[in-house]
């Protein structure tokens, strides 16, 4: 068998497992960071520094009873968490996470460190993200619970509103990089200005990066934009009626989505695996460092800012973020025409 094919298959398994593990890691990090920000210690008993806490959580969820309200729609009620988790994992399969490698000369031709190197990767991520909202909306509707329904309605309204700014911010990067392939976009960010400033798009697109991260937080329903599950108002929002592994799937989807948005931001704005000091073949370390920094930013944000009000969320999305992203796209296009980057 072709060794490259074996590596490709191995890559699929590794990425899937790594995403599962990253969700566990994020749960642990979330607990630790929130604890530190509130002058607590967080989990300390399960394993060293509480590292086994997420696994204890998963085992607890495994052994819980799977409940379904009598009046719930039986097909959609079980389909909704599956849609959520599937789309979360699907989006990551077009994200590259390192330079092409031959695994230290083991292979006769280099393999790209991504599950699928699609030439419209950016649009694929956008399409899969827009499918992910169905999981939440259907969960809200099929539970036959007014709090769930409100959570689902909020999710769809929020995602429609912020998807526009998200797409506009992406479009500005596509204009700069003149490509739809994530690999080509990352490679457009190699090299330095004046010999020391790395050519990352974040320096050309500071406003775009701000819009992308803000809309990204809204797309993943994280605080301060966690309206679909706002616990003080909606019990637990769209997953009020879910228990056991169905709930775990929603939980998993939220963390995997966070990792995906951060990974895309790393590739689009922070130069992916390109960085100073380290040799190019160690670029994957740069990639993980940038990803971790963005993920920490997510946690930091959640435990620092209070939730918006629903009307301020909509006003912010439509009256500030969207006009700003349109202006950003126009300015970028004009700049590319004028300077011919």
């Amino acid at each position: 068998m072709d060794p490259v094919l074996i590596v490709q298959v191995a890559l699929v398994v590794v990425v899937f497992q790594a995403l599962l593990l990253s969700a566990a890691g994020m749960v642990w990090a979330e607990r630790k960071v929130s604890a530190r920000l509130q002058q607590r210690f967080g989990p300390t008993l399960t394993g060293p520094a509480g590292l086994l806490q997420p696994f204890a959580d998963v085992f607890k969820l495994f052994f819980k009873e799977e409940l379904k309200p009598k009046a719930a729609d039986s097909v959609l009620f079980y389909l909704a968490p599956i849609i959520s988790a599937t789309t979360a994992f699907l989006a990551f399969c077009v994200v590259p996470f390192g330079p092409p490698t031959t695994l230290f000369g083991l292979l006769d031709r280099p393999v790209m460190l991504t599950v699928a190197d699609v030439n419209v990767a950016v649009l694929v991520i956008f399409a899969v993200a827009s499918m992910g909202v169905y999981g939440i909306v259907l969960a809200g509707w099929s539970s036959n619970n007014k709090y769930s329904l409100l959570g689902g309605l909020r999710a769809s309204a929020q995602m429609i509103s912020y998807e526009l700014s998200y797409g506009m911010a992406l479009a500005a990067v596509l204009v700069l990089g003149n490509s739809l392939s994530l690999v080509e976009l990352v490679n457009a960010q190699s090299g330095y200005w004046f010999g020391f400033i790395p050519k990352w798009f974040v320096f050309l697109q500071p406003v775009g990066f701000f819009i992308f991260m803000t809309a990204g937080v809204a797309e993943t329903n994280r605080a301060p934009f966690d309206f679909p599950e706002a616990e003080q108002e909606l019990v637990a929002g769209y997953h009020t009626e879910y228990s056991s592994m169905s709930f775990a799937l929603f939980f998993l989807a939220e963390y995997v989505n966070m990792v995906t948005v951060s990974a895309v931001a790393t590739n689009l704005y922070l130069g992916g695996w390109h960085g100073p000091v380290l040799p190019p073949w160690l670029g994957i370390l740069w990639w993980f460092a940038k990803l971790s920094a963005l993920l920490f930013f997510y946690l930091w944000l959640r435990w620092t800012l209070p939730r918006y009000r629903y009307d301020t969320l909509m006003q912010f999305g439509w009256k500030f973020l969207l006009p700003l992203s349109v202006l950003n796209l126009l300015a970028t296009a004009a700049g590319v025409l004028y300077f011919g980057i």
């Binding site: 169905y134 259907l138 509707w141 329904l149 689902g152 309605l153 769809s156 309204a157």
Partner: protein, 177 residues
Amino acid sequence: MGFETIGFYVLGALAVAASLGVIGQRNPIYSVMLLIGSFGALAGLYILLDSPFTAVTQIIVYAGAIMVLFLFVVMLLNVPREDAAEWDRSHPLNRPGARRLGAALAVFLVLELGWAVWHISTREAVAFKDISSGGISSVAALGRSIFTDYAFQFEATSILILAAMVGAVVLARKEQE
């Protein structure tokens, strides 16, 4: 049979079955979900036609943006079942005139479909200029041909959509007291 032929029949059957399901059952939420399935099968057909860009746009625009709005409205109205309009004799669509018009339109549609299928099966394939040479998968080639050769059609479609949007706003607007 090659992979593409099998793929075409499987996806085509899925699209037709899902579309029939949309009009075949009464729960509007299921109709919306089946329509999304139909759009997904269409996107698969586009991929088989070697145009991933069109496929992804199909998913983003139709299955993603438009159907979320549909689902939003259906959930907001929260109708478990559609109105049984055909049993309601007083419904305006059940007047004899409306029924005859509907029957005539149905006959016309079947004739049109038959003509289209016969026409396509007999004529030579027409190669679109520009697109066929560069490959439709190239986004740059697609954009260039939309804004040069097909600029008029593109702008006309935009105006049509804008008119529909203005119409919807006018219809939905409450009269100022």
